[in-house]
């Protein structure tokens, strides 16, 4: 992990900052402009989820690297009442307030991986990942870096 950013979510202006931070990190990790927009949009939804259901929380952004791919990880944590039924929350049309309950299911469609953990009374954590294929040259360079680390 080389990059890590945390954005506190307490007001709707913070959502704008979280979107911008997500886009900036995506760009640094070599995602296309379109992918950056998908990521920023998904962040917008989970940030709103924090505000509407818990009132405050944080969004943590970091990178992740595997042999054949790079990824961005978005973790949205709140300390609200938790979600009664995670399955229900992921169905289109669910939601007691806000955007017609499209938020979380839509965010899931924009990202490659999406999980929700919720303990009633103890907050909700949404973790989302998006991957980018690593081209062969990048893979070689990464392997070389790892070899150098072993030697060093």
């Amino acid at each position: 992990m080389d990059h890590e950013t945390c954005v506190e979510i307490e007001s709707d202006a913070d959502m704008v900052a979280a979107r911008a931070a997500g886009r900036a990190l995506a760009e640094r990790l070599g995602f296309s402009r379109t992918d950056g927009t998908l990521i920023a949009t998904a962040i917008s939804e989970v940030a709103r989820n924090i505000l509407v259901h818990a009132g405050c929380g944080e969004i943590l952004l970091h990178d992740v690297h595997e042999r054949d791919r790079h990824g961005i990880v978005v973790v949205a944590r709140d300390c609200g009442p938790g979600i009664q039924s995670v399955e229900l929350a992921l169905q289109d049309g669910w939601g007691s307030s806000g955007g017609l309950g499209l938020g979380l299911p839509g965010a899931r469609r924009l990202m490659d991986e999406f999980t929700i953990e919720s303990v009633p009374g103890d907050g909700t954590t949404v973790t989302m990942k998006k991957w980018r294929a690593r081209d062969p040259l990048e893979r070689l360079r990464r392997e070389r870096e790892q070899r150098e680390q072993v030697w060093a």
Partner: protein
């Protein structure tokens, strides 16, 4: 991480390894001997038949610059300016076909030429010579690695640029007339290429202020669920940007597949062949096509 400007971490030369008293001596000697040593280096380069694509004058002027940068790097312990020069040099010579082994070869030759001259200078005092070489060798090796890596990184960058250019060439978006673009898709489509096609088409809509796009898939042999859905998404995205999309050249096989896959085509405007698609496009743009042989065809707004 970022593909744009690849760069390995380059820690400064470990100057503490170089004897504080010996370093200035060594550098002064190499500067004093520079003309002679450069000539020796050039002759070793031509003996080894390296840099055959460059003229002797070019080699001489690069040799001077590399030598000076090299000695500077020894003196300051910083390889940054040498690295910058190596990148710049690489950019100039890569297109002329200079190979990695040539670049590594000439840097190693310089290392050898300098080592030999140090040997000759200090051979009468083996203990001092030992200390001099202890200082010199790690620094020289680090420099060789820096130059070699800079060259390879520059070459990777060039390859990457060429790959991007080829990808773009394989999916041309053509402007046929004002406000009308065509995207002819030929060959196999996987989801990565489909994504790329979409991005190019949407950018072309913006750049050409297109109102109608014709996507011709006559040259596509088969299609799967992912690609079919991508096609639907592309059409919908084009519409959000204010452009109508027409799909042409659906083979009966693909049409069958789309029906079998239950892809929702209700939002799609499909026309049998490219010719028909263009006529439909012109109708949408408000043109009337008159078949008026032998008088030249005319368009009325």
């Amino acid at each position: 991480m970022n593909g744009q400007k690849p760069s390995l971490p380059t820690p400064p030369l470990e100057t503490h390894e170089i004897d504080a008293e010996l370093l200035p001596k060594l550098v002064a000697y190499l500067r004093q001997m520079s003309v002679e040593l450069r000539e020796k280096w050039v002759s070793r380069i031509s003996e080894a038949q390296l840099l055959g694509v460059m003229s002797p004058e070019e080699i001489f002027s690069e040799v001077k610059a590399v030598y000076d940068n090299y000695v500077d790097a020894l003196e300051t312990g910083s390889v940054e300016s040498l690295q910058a020069y190596a990148r710049d040099l690489s950019e100039r010579i890569i297109h002329r076909g200079v190979e990695t082994h040539e670049v590594l070869g000439i840097v190693l030759l310089l290392r050898d030429v300098l080592a030999r001259s140090l040997f000759l200078r200090y051979q009468d005092d083996p203990e001092l010579l030992d200390r001099i070489l202890d200082s010199y060798e790690p620094a020289a090796n680090r420099i060789a690695v820096t130059v070699g890596v800079s060259f390879v990184e520059e070459r990777e960058r060039v390859i990457r640029e060429q790959q991007a250019a080829i990808r773009e060439l394989s999916t041309p978006v053509l402007q046929v007339r004002d406000r009308l673009v065509i995207l002819p898709i030929i060959g196999a489509i996987d989801s990565q290429r489909a994504r790329q096609l979409t991005e190019q088409l949407l950018n072309a809509i913006q750049a050409n202020r297109a109102k109608v796009v014709v996507i011709d898939i006559t040259g596509v042999a088969s299609i799967d669920m992912t690609v079919a859905n991508h096609l639907v998404q592309t059409v919908n995205a084009a519409r959000l940007m204010g452009a109508s999309a027409i799909i042409t050249g659906l083979s009966s096989g693909i049409a069958q597949t789309l029906v079998d896959l239950r892809v929702d085509l209700s939002t799609m405007n499909t026309v049998g062949d490219l010719q028909g698609g263009l006529e439909e496009a012109e109708r949408l743009l408000g043109y009337k096509v008159l078949h008026s042989d032998p008088a030249p065809p005319d368009r009325l707004a």
